[in-house]
Symmetry: C2
Subunit: 328 residues, 2 copies
DNA sequence: TTGAAAGCGATACCAT
DNA sequence: ATGGTATCGCTTTCAA
């Protein structure tokens, strides 16, 4: 692997000159012929600078580290992430996702800190805690932000408040005259961070109306859904908020197969406004989530990196709107 | 940010000793009291080693770089990736995903090479070409592997042969007596790498049977599906392989709404064997994909890293099986 | 058992 | 306009 010294030797100049040329340093003037010789030498050797060496010398990097979320990202979130990465690269950051499955919060923060990222954009509050934030800041991270349902002490928060989603759904169901609302809680690990606040939101909407709110565990498979559907009549519910469109589809099918009328006997509401909801019969009512613009977020990150002094900011990013269709 | 020198000062020892203690170097014996002092000092200062400095000195890293695929990963692939990352970490690698949207192949390879990863696991053949492989190898990557439908000169190939998927679907449809097979080609960018070989597979299955194979563009939205369904009778098809279960769901709904009987008039087949397919009526026939074990793959990566000399290997990883249900 | 020092690759200051 | 060189944080011989 060729180094800048190799390039220098081949071009017959010093390593300093190589650095000046390849980085287009403006503070120093290099003659055109020299520039050409250096460029050609670099090209010929297939020289690629060593990021670690560079950032060691510079004392900082342009790496934005994004820990991979623990639950698989849906299409909505994937799209948002893509946009964000693209926008960050345009601002000349190197975006890197770090898989941290099976690490405790502090372990994870340490692992991230070892890479000395200039910014960390952590999903949810799953892994990162106040101690982790501290470790990261002390390791030189200029911006530590969380992106998810909760805020974390010391970090900027880009709140995607899941309670709003639940509130939206709850309010819609109540406005349709429903009085007993089931709320699906996915049994799969890692969903609590989202499902708990959604449940809370439904509860908040029901507050004072005298309506009943009942959490219901459900695994994402046919059999569990069938079992739930079998005891549905006993539950005495006239509505259900199914966590999201996929669980809604699962439950709706099971309920229909068990003879429960939708929306007659029970109203079903999803969330995320996926295309599949529109393909169901009856068409699935849902909560549409307005994801934040990746562009805007990237600019926020950049602002914090450039001026790290400020107090942690809290931004609310998620817009929720009920989309009534035929299942409610 | 504290350095090992700070720890040394606080513990009243040399930097060398700090390194020995924190890395549990066995070649050298440090007294227990000293170890304790060093550990306590490191703890107190919140010392986190600097990965860049370490790998600069060592001349190599333990970073496995995985460029993010250009199309959003489905649940199948996400799960597989998680497993792989987990297995790699158990082998003491640091797994990092690098988003490379909007970079040309060679640009991307350079960006990856700057990080001096010990291994690169590139999806598909989307970005990486033979030149890129070369750049990576010369930058010190011990293992360069591609994970997807095509192989790339110079790199090990973990082939997930999409033609098999198409072949499976085609063979199943033909065995049911179908003679005119439509094949859905997603209109969204980035899907060609998967849809083209799947189409090829259907063609191969039809080879010599006299059956007709017709590619059909389809965007993932209701309107486009409705338009396709409207001209369906004119197409004279008695079967369709819908690329995957999601497109199948979309198309099936549109066909049913337009009055086409399934499977009477047209057999519909998906792929991926997602749960949603089982929830449809009629239940969707599909192609089940057996994803490779992340554990096995991690071991392969590790083997190549330890013994980089060997010739590029080609492994076929995808097992496809037709799952007949009610839509065919 | 511990410390001094060389060196990994790149950069930026200070000379020339 | 260009070159010499100290420096970033860490590991690892070699000496003591």
């Amino acid at each position: 692997m060729p180094t800048s010294a190799d390039v220098a030797r081949l071009a017959g100049v010093s390593r300093a000159t190589v650095s000046y040329v390849l980085n287009n340093t403006t503070a120093v003037r290099i003659s055109e012929p020299t520039r050409r010789r250096v460029r050609e030498a670099a090209e010929e050797l297939g020289y690629v600078p060593h990021a670690a060496a560079r950032s060691l010398r510079a004392g900082h990097s342009r790496m934005v580290l994004m820990p991979t979320p623990h639950i698989p990202a849906g299409p909505l979130y994937s799209h948002f992430l893509n946009e964000l990465q693209w926008a960050l690269r345009r601002l000349d950051y190197t975006v890197v996702q770090h898989g941290s499955v099976g690490m405790s919060g502090d372990e994870a923060a340490r692992a991230w800190a070892e890479l000395r990222p200039v910014a960390v954009l952590a999903p949810g509050a799953g892994t990162l805690g106040p101690r982790g934030v501290n470790v990261l800041k002390r390791s030189g991270a200029k911006a530590v932000l969380t992106l998810g349902p909760e805020r974390v002490e010391g970090a900027h928060a880009l709140l995607m408040d899941q309670r709003e989603v639940g509130h939206c759904a709850g309010a819609h169901l109540l406005s349709g005259g429903r009085r007993s609302i089931g709320v699906i809680m996915p049994a799969e690990a890692g969903f609590e961070t989202f499902s708990a606040p959604r449940l809370e939101g439904v509860r908040a909407a029901a507050e004072g109306t005298g309506a009943r709110v009942v959490p219901l565990g459900l695994a994402y498979d046919e059999q569990d859904a069938a079992e739930l559907a079998a005891r549905w009549p006993d539950l005495g519910l006239d509505a259900v908020f199914a966590y999201n469109d996929e669980y809604a589809m699962l439950l709706m099918r099971a309920l229909q197969d068990a003879g429960t009328g939708i929306p007659g006997d029970t109203a079903v509401m999803g969330a995320d406004d996926l295309l599949i909801g529109r393909l169901l019969r009856p068409r699935l009512s849902t909560v549409h989530l307005e994801m934040p613009s990746g562009q805007l977020l990237a600019e926020f990150v950049d602002r914090v990196v450039r001026d790290p002094g400020g107090a942690p900011e809290v931004h609310h990013l998620l817009g929720s709107t009920a989309v009534p269709r035929d299942s409610t």
